[in-house]
């Protein structure tokens, strides 16, 4: 934000890969040191370093391969929105609090604003853009439309993806499962009542 405002949240997230790599390195080397007696500071075997410049990142999004040339720090959300023009999922808070960016990665709902694109290579990424088959809406999309479970619609893609993930796991969710499944998403227009009704009305979702 401001020059001397260090954005602790962002710098922490931005360095997630290297911090994890550091922990892994530390773990491996201390283990190695204690067991085999290798010199401290030896380079362990590991994945090659990438970045900080642009690097090739290959994603599978909605069943299609997406090849990008991006910096490793680019989030999954920004990679798709800014570099592949896949803009269905939205950026609301950019730090995993509002859920507008919710995508499904290998069957799990994730905040794509808090996931690095480079981390989901080799995984199946699903966004709201890929749910409908031609003009045939996914049952969850149809339910949101039928129940007017949207107003401005900006949070809707995230809510729909969270609902799809919920219903793929719990085809007939209890009221508690439904609430908990959607507690990670925020709507500012106040559509929660009808989202609840829409999701509860869905009679089964396609097997993925």
């Amino acid at each position: 934000m401001a020059p001397n405002d260090e954005h602790p949240d962002k710098s922490e997230r931005g360095s997630a890969v290297s911090r994890r790599a550091f922990l892994k390195t530390a773990g491996v080397s201390s283990l190695a040191a204690s067991v085999v007696g290798v010199e401290v500071g030896a380079q362990p075997a590991g994945p090659p370093m990438v970045g900080p410049g642009e690097t090739a990142v290959h994603l599978m999004v909605n069943g299609k391969r997406v090849d990008l040339q991006i910096e490793p720090r680019v989030t999954l959300l920004n990679a798709l929105r800014n570099h592949a023009d896949i803009t269905g999922n939205k950026r609301g808070c950019d730090r995993g609090a509002c859920g507008a960016c919710t995508m499904i990665v290998d069957g799990r709902a994730v905040y794509s604003c808090s996931t690095l694109a480079i981390e989901v290579q080799g995984k199946q990424v699903r966004t709201v853009d890929g749910l409908a088959v031609g003009n045939k809406l996914h049952p969850v999309q149809q339910a949101f439309y039928d129940h007017d479970a949207l107003m401005c619609g900006f949070c809707t893609p995230g809510f729909i993806m969270a609902s799809v993930a919920l219903l793929e796991k719990h085809p007939t969710p209890t009221p508690t499962q439904l609430r908990k499944g959607l507690d990670g998403n925020i709507c500012r227009c106040g559509t929660f009542k009808r989202i609840r009704e829409a999701v509860a009305s869905v009679k089964g979702v396609p097997h993925v």
Partner: protein, 759 residues
Amino acid sequence: MSNPRIPDPAPAPQPPPARPGDPPPTTFPTAGSAQPPVDTQPISADAKKWAWPEKPTLLGTRVKRVDGPNKVTGRAKYTFDINRPGMLFGKIARSPYAHARIAAIDLSQAEKAPGVKAVLAWKEVGAEVMFQGDPVAAVAADTDERAVDAMRLIRVRYEQLPHVISDAQATAPGAPVVFKGGNTTPGSTEETGSLSDGFKQAAHTIEANYSTHVITHCCMESHGSVCEWDGDKLTAWISTQAVHGSKQGFAQGLKIPEANVRTITEYMGGGFGSKVGPDAQGLICAQLAKLAKAPVKLMLDRKEEQLDSGNRPGASVRVKAGVTAEGKLTAWEGTSLGSGGAGAAAGFPLPYLYDFPNRKRTHTDVYINAGRQRAMRAPGHPQGCFLTEIMMDELADIVKMDPVAFRINNVPAVAANTMWAEYFTSGAKTFGWDKRHPTGDKTPGPIKTGMGVSAHRWGGGGRGAQVHCDITSDGGLVVKCGTQDIGTGTRTIVTMVAAETAGLPMSAIKAEIGDSRLPFAGASGGSTTCAGVSPAVRITVGKALDALFERVAPQLGVKADTLVASGGRVHVKGSPAKGFTWKEACKLVGTEPISVDGKWEPGLSAAGTCGVQFAEVEVDIETGIVRVKRVLAIQDCGLIVDRLTAESQVHGGVISSLSFALFEDRILDRNTGQMVNPNMEMYLLAGMSDIPQIDAVLVDSPEQRARGVIGIGEPPTVSTSAAIANAVRNAIGVPLRSLPLHPHKILAAMAQGKAAGTL
């Protein structure tokens, strides 16, 4: 809150000048219990001719929004989704301090940063920043990430100045004067009747302080735009509630002709009153695009959004009120404060709604070093409602009356726009108010239940929307209006009204909105859009039909004024067989299409709504956590256009008000002047687990239908917070005189109640 005397209020200070691009100052009625206006303009001839149908086919039914499929599939392109060829990303460097003078701005390192194409200083050296988040300089770079990097390389040296971030700090004796002319503007005193007489008539009086807090709009799509120049012509995709207003704002801010600006808002992700012009970020975006000779997208991040895109200002009042032994209000005397941030006034209607025959109010605007307020969903009313309604329950207890009966005793007489007495009665029955226990739930156990009630009003009304309608020989009917759909369903309503008027299915209508090249329509604010646009569409499509009838009549050997359009046909009134199908009729149009302009005219819309709401809560007195179980909202809105989206408006208003009452709070650190929670994880908003049962009752009586269309985007959000607070008081038995109802305040109020011996 106390209101210490200000040593020297004269001369009347002027608020600091608004920045270029700032929305026009919003003024709110501060008159006491003035009632909502009723349209008194004579009904126009067009409005008489195209009066709303007595037996509509579409109006009043549940119609799914026409852009629903685009929104659920992600195909709807919001401003945030616009990607232009060669587009850059803009980023603004902002003041980290609540108050400082800019000693130096060094852009050189930012200019040299990778990917940077443009850098500019928005403020001059020597200028003051008046709140944390005040924009100072900006960059544009080829990626989002590099724009952030470069923004951090903008070096600004600040000389910190003293700041004030609360009413108490701003008005304390010896407080630093941080605004030219003083930290306050004492408003005029309003007086009606005779206070001394009023208090003489009172058998009981109450004296107390009531206050509300500051919340932010927190739109899901942040403020921002994508600006692209073609020579000296600017196209701006902008997230706004005012497509035409934004065009004017860009032209004025950039000092270019309005004819050179085009603004587009196909879809937008919420505004709630805060998005009525380009603001600083829009003008910065346009200037960066000009400098870089490339399109620039500049959307605020969440922190910027929380700091510098508006808020609902706080309000407080020190009040003394009197009531007779029979429960009639006699007098109200209040000294109120409103703090709208750095140089913004903050008015609110007070006392709210009820008849206080003798009253006197003195209002003072207090300036603090924080982001400026903007109109927020029913501006002023949630504050005025809370400050009054909480006191009403306390007065009802003093005279030992049921809160509903006490309110009915003191509301204005029933009229079309003042229906409270009826709604209180019918609502109480529907809600099961007879099961409400007196103040304080005496049942054992930590979970206490309670019920509360509140009432509200709103003005609204239609205003000058313009519409263009084309009917072409292939049967096409196109309606064009430069209004915008901010989530309320305007696109659907335009389509519905055109289809209803032409007797066609909605699929036959092409509605174009959201572009400044379309005919003028006002900002979507004050719940005026539906009431402005619907009559304009009705009249314009009606005029186009008249022109069609002129061309069709000779072929049928009848006079044009005997024809009607209904059921997909153009035919002689009362004889559907004598006529043509719509397509056949349109073939007679020939090569020169029917092309008609029209506008809003009085007679098909009205101003003045009212509503009452009931809430039931559970309070855990061990944790202080409040859970709302049920809300009943009775709301009138004249002639209902789309019942489905109208109900959604009521649900949304209730949920937004619940969030205001229980969760949201802009917290400023009193030492640093910085916002502690400029995000969405610490700035709490209601989520799925917090949503109660909500029953929305839209009043749909012949009397209300006869009034014409009235917007209801705002009124339903006024009452809920006060009804919840009254329900909490009913549950725990001690007064709660300030929002939000956070757990620690519930526990503190109970501890205070115990100490005072009332519990």
